[in-house]
């Protein structure tokens, strides 16, 4: 492989040429260059050891099909197969303000709010749901694949050159720490079920800041060789909070993040992970949660996140009958609850409410001091809501207008979600 220099040009399969401006960075697989194509600045990933023709053909197919959604930083153009002893693909540049997931793990980047963290979790699930819906499987999910914005929680999914059709193999297996046990021990080839395992590891790392399979037992291993990895992430993988097996519990002084956050985040999340990393699911790939089920858990989590009216920090409220802030410790009263189906969405002033699974808030709970209704719901969508009073009167709430938080009011927000204020 020959490295490229400034002003070199590479020929693309669509007949045009891209010009190298400079190197942006390099990883294990390739070098990324800033290039100019048709007046636009883009990124070229150039392989250090060009993978085989099958890999190239798959890239061609992916370029032709296009990305499953705009959450994916997807190959858009491909260089011809053999020039300068290698090949590469061109994608959009990563926008400013996004940090690699690894930086969050290393505590160098940090979410501005729990709301942002939850948005990130939701968007990652959505991305994988779409990927699988389009017949692909990732096969190499790990911490290097995500760029996350710390304020909005927006996520860009990268390194999509290892995205392959579901029954096909890229030959790349990923990192043992993120790989499903059946792949680590070489029993199965990667597929959407093993993708889902990797997804749950990413979600666990995102929420709790430690790895779900690394506790006392794994820590006791002085040298993590390839064969120990096959054991601790494969044949003898044990969840750190496994109900039946306590040999791998987190260790004080080392696993401080999860020790602090495990009890702090709500029980629905703990239960979800206990099930997902139970021996049953570790050994039976088809029992793992599908992305939509994770999204439901994350939505429930979000429904219980409110702004404390006393100290203004975010807090989870698990017992809506007697809300107490996790930060200042003070008890307070909820302004109300919006019940949609089986969901109880808790309301306090300044809280943002998300009705559906996209990461756009739909309601802003606002405080209107001096008003007959001191707490109101402002419509921050671009469509009209319809409110029905207990006596059957209908009112329209246009975007930016607000409705009172008054028990008995029914509201139709997105057309399919009808809620009632309790």
């Amino acid at each position: 492989m020959k490295e490229l220099k400034a002003n070199d040009s590479v020929s693309l399969t669509n007949g045009s040429k891209a010009k190298i401006i400079r190197e942006l960075g390099r990883g294990g697989q390739g070098i990324v260059y800033l290039v100019e194509l048709a007046g636009q600045k883009m990124a070229l990933k150039w392989y250090i050891n060009p993978p085989d023709k099958k890999f190239y053909k798959n890239l061609e197919d992916n370029v032709a099909k296009g990305a499953p959604s705009d959450a994916f930083l997807w190959p858009e153009y491909l260089t011809t197969y053999n020039q300068k002893n290698s090949y590469g693909y061109i994608m959009k540049l990563r926008p400013q303000g996004y940090f690699e997931f690894g930086q969050y793990l290393l505590a160098r980047a940090q979410f501005k709010s729990v709301e942002a963290m939850i948005n990130a979790a939701m968007k990652i699930c959505e991305g994988f749901k779409l990927l699988h819906l389009n017949g692909y499987s990732y096969q190499d999910l790990n911490d290097g694949n995500f760029f996350i914005h710390p304020e909005t929680g927006d996520v860009l999914i990268c390194d999509n050159d290892n995205v392959f059709p579901q029954k096909d193999q890229s030959g790349i297996l990923g990192k043992a720490r993120y790989m499903a046990p059946e792949i680590v021990i070489g029993k199965n080839a990667p597929d959407k079920f093993s993708d889902r395992f990797s997804l749950s590891v990413i979600l666990f790392l995102l929420f709790y800041g430690n790895h779900p399979l690394e506790g006392a037992r794994v820590l006791a291993c002085p040298c993590m060789t390839e064969s120990y990895e096959k054991k601790f992430y494969g044949s003898e993988a044990v969840f750190i909070y496994d109900e039946a097996n306590n040999t791998n519990r987190p260790v004080r002084g080392v696993h401080n993040n999860v020790l602090r956050r495990w009890p702090a985040f709500p029980v629905i999340l703990r239960d979800a992970f206990k099930k997902e990393f139970s021996e049953d699911c570790l050994k039976n790939p088809e029992k793992r949660k599908i992305e939509a089920e994770w999204q439901k858990v994350i939505q429930q989590l979000r429904d219980t996140l409110v702004i404390c009216p006393v100290c203004n920090q975010e807090t989870f409220i698990e017992d809506s009958a007697s809300p107490k802030c996790m930060n200042c410790g003070k008890s307070f009263v909820l302004s109300g609850i919006l019940r949609i189906g089986t969901r109880d969405i808790l309301l306090t002033p300044n809280t943002k409410i998300y009705i559906d699974l996209d990461n756009k808030p739909d309601i802003h709970v606002v405080s209107v001091p001096g008003d007959k209704y001191p707490v109101q719901l402002r419509n921050i969508t671009s469509s009209k809501w319809t409110v029905e009073t207990p006596s059957g009167k209908l009112k329209a709430i246009e975007p930016n207008m607000a409705m009172p938080v008054k028990a008995g009011l029914k509201v139709n927000i997105t057309g399919t979600s009808k809620g009632e204020i309790l």
């Binding site: 793990l105 790349i172 297996l173 720490r177 794994v218 002085p222 993590m224 992430y233």
Partner: protein
């Protein structure tokens, strides 16, 4: 502490060892290139370490001539390792170097103790000659050491006078010995080998059947093919136009 505050995820330590022949024959451009190459590759290793949530990479360097000397008492973070220029003079005590390495490849009294554990080390041996002391004794000790057995081991034979057989015994793989015939090749291969061993050694494995050692060997050999003056141990391929199919 707020709900979003956290500390860094605990990382295993991976130690990259440089074992450098500083015997009299290395005097001049050879030792100058080694100093230059290592000094320049350390910041790159530091960056690899910085971006890596799996492991942090520490560096330790041992020079051996008539005796042996560790550049620092303990391994240092790649970013903080200030390279001390080494000078060439004396014999080639590779056997003693092996014994020193064996001592440090342990948790008690050695470099391998860490609160969050380790990955197997990577060891790069650079030599231009042959051992002048009891190499077999030193190697035997090392071969009984688990850290050494599981380590990534690569050797650079500097010039034609280097004892390639000794280097092969040390690395336990013929393809893990790269011979360099000029200064540029020496500098380039030090860089490639240091970066490749660090990248592969400091990450969770990809659970293929190839060990990390095999992966490093493969990548290094591929890269060496493009380096003028670097010679791998692979069998020579026939030149274009020569065909030996009838001998299959």
């Amino acid at each position: 502490m707020g709900l979003v505050d956290n500390e860094s995820i605990p990382r295993r330590k991976m130690t990259l060892f440089f074992l450098i022949d500083t015997s009299g024959s290395m005097l001049g451009s050879k030792i100058g290139s080694v100093n230059d190459a290592i000094e320049n590759v350390l910041p790159i290793i530091g960056e690899i370490s910085d971006e890596n949530p799996d492991a942090e990479i520490n560096v330790a360097a041992l020079e051996f001539s008539t005796g042996t000397r560790w550049l620092y008492d303990e391994p240092k973070d790649a970013k903080e390792f200030i390279w001390q220029q080494v000078e060439a003079e004396g014999l080639t005590s590779l056997g003693e170097a092996c014994e020193e390495l064996n001592k440090k490849l342990s948790r008690t009294g050695g470099f391998m103790s860490s609160p969050s554990g380790c990955y197997a080390p990577a060891i790069i041996l650079l030599s231009d000659g042959g051992p002048t002391d009891n190499f077999e004794k030193g190697l035997k000790l090392l071969q009984g050491n688990s850290w050494f057995k599981n380590a990534i081991k690569i050797a650079i034979a500097i010039g034609d006078d280097a004892d390639k057989e000794v280097l092969r015994q040390f690395t336990d793989a013929q393809e893990a010995v790269i011979t360099v015939h000029n200064i540029e090749a020496l500098k380039t291969m030090i860089r490639i080998i240091a970066i490749t061993s660090s990248q592969i050694g400091s990450k969770s494995t990809s659970a293929t059947d190839a060990t990390k050692q095999e992966q490093v060997i493969e990548e290094v050999n591929k890269a060496a093919a493009d380096v003028q003056g670097a010679e791998t141990a692979a069998a020579p391929t026939p030149a274009n136009g020569d065909s030996y199919d009838e001998w299959d």
